[in-house]
Amino acid sequence: MTTSLRIAAASALLIGGGAAAYAGGPTDPQIAHIAYTAGTIDIAAAKQALVRSHNKAVRSFAQEMVRDHTAVNDKALALVKKLHVTPEANPTSAGLSKQASATLARLSHLHGRQFDRAYVASEVGYHKTVNGALADTLIPSANNAELKSLLQTGLTLFREHQQHAEQLQAALK
């Protein structure tokens, strides 16, 4: 699959599929699960980059992804504990995970600049997709105010990461 196709598929999954899978939008336990999964996926991608990439800027970006997404996921775990919410598995989370496994497998065959470019392109697309889902589906559907606020922080973070990934992508050309 090409990168743009993959992004389109992921977008459909998150936005269209999200709406179709849940009449009235996802519930807070489902939203928490999706947000946490989205962070975990980006951490796994970054760990792969830290194993495979020798490019200083790419490695620094990957370290930032691990650091920032771990911070926000730790906060999310603390919040669900406090709210006595149990994150609930759902088709959107499953779809994201499946797609992420495919990306990890595809990138595992690439080396050097090829890997760096593919990883960064995948990061641009992934952050764009998650931003769309957060803004259009997850944030509007969230009921709990603290969860909504954390998702908003997540959206700001993902937007910053998208911008950083785009700068990196331009520099790698």
Binding site: D68, T153, T156, L157, Q163, H164
Partner: protein
């Protein structure tokens, strides 16, 4: 990180050795960093004043002005920075490029 801290330390050492340029007593102003944004930058800053960067956010940030300063700001940390030169200093967070601000020092 070590580099950033070193650069910060250097700046502060130089500041301590330089004569104060401001007439009024030096003051310390606080800039809060939270939710991936720099808070309001106080106006009327003078050479000799100190900017205290306070990171209330979940994330590692930096206050970086290319060629001038590069302060690493771990979550929950605060760092003091003496202002040693007059001028306008645009700065960013080197990790989160949308985070921007400008210091104007007289």
């Amino acid at each position: 990180m070590r580099c950033a801290r070193l650069a910060g330390a250097l700046l502060i050492t130089i500041a301590a050795a330089a004569p104060a340029g401001a007439k009024s007593a030096p003051r310390t102003v606080t800039v809060i960093v939270d939710k991936l944004a720099f808070g309001t930058i106080p106006a009327g800053l003078h050479v000799g004043d100190t900017v205290r960067w306070v990171n209330r956010d979940l994330f590692l940030h930096s206050a970086t002005s290319s060629g001038h300063f590069d302060i690493g700001l771990p979550p929950g940390a605060q760092r003091n920075m003496r202002l040693t030169r007059a001028g306008q200093f645009a700065f960013i967070c080197k990790y989160h490029p949308g985070m921007k601000g400008k210091l104007t020092v007289q």
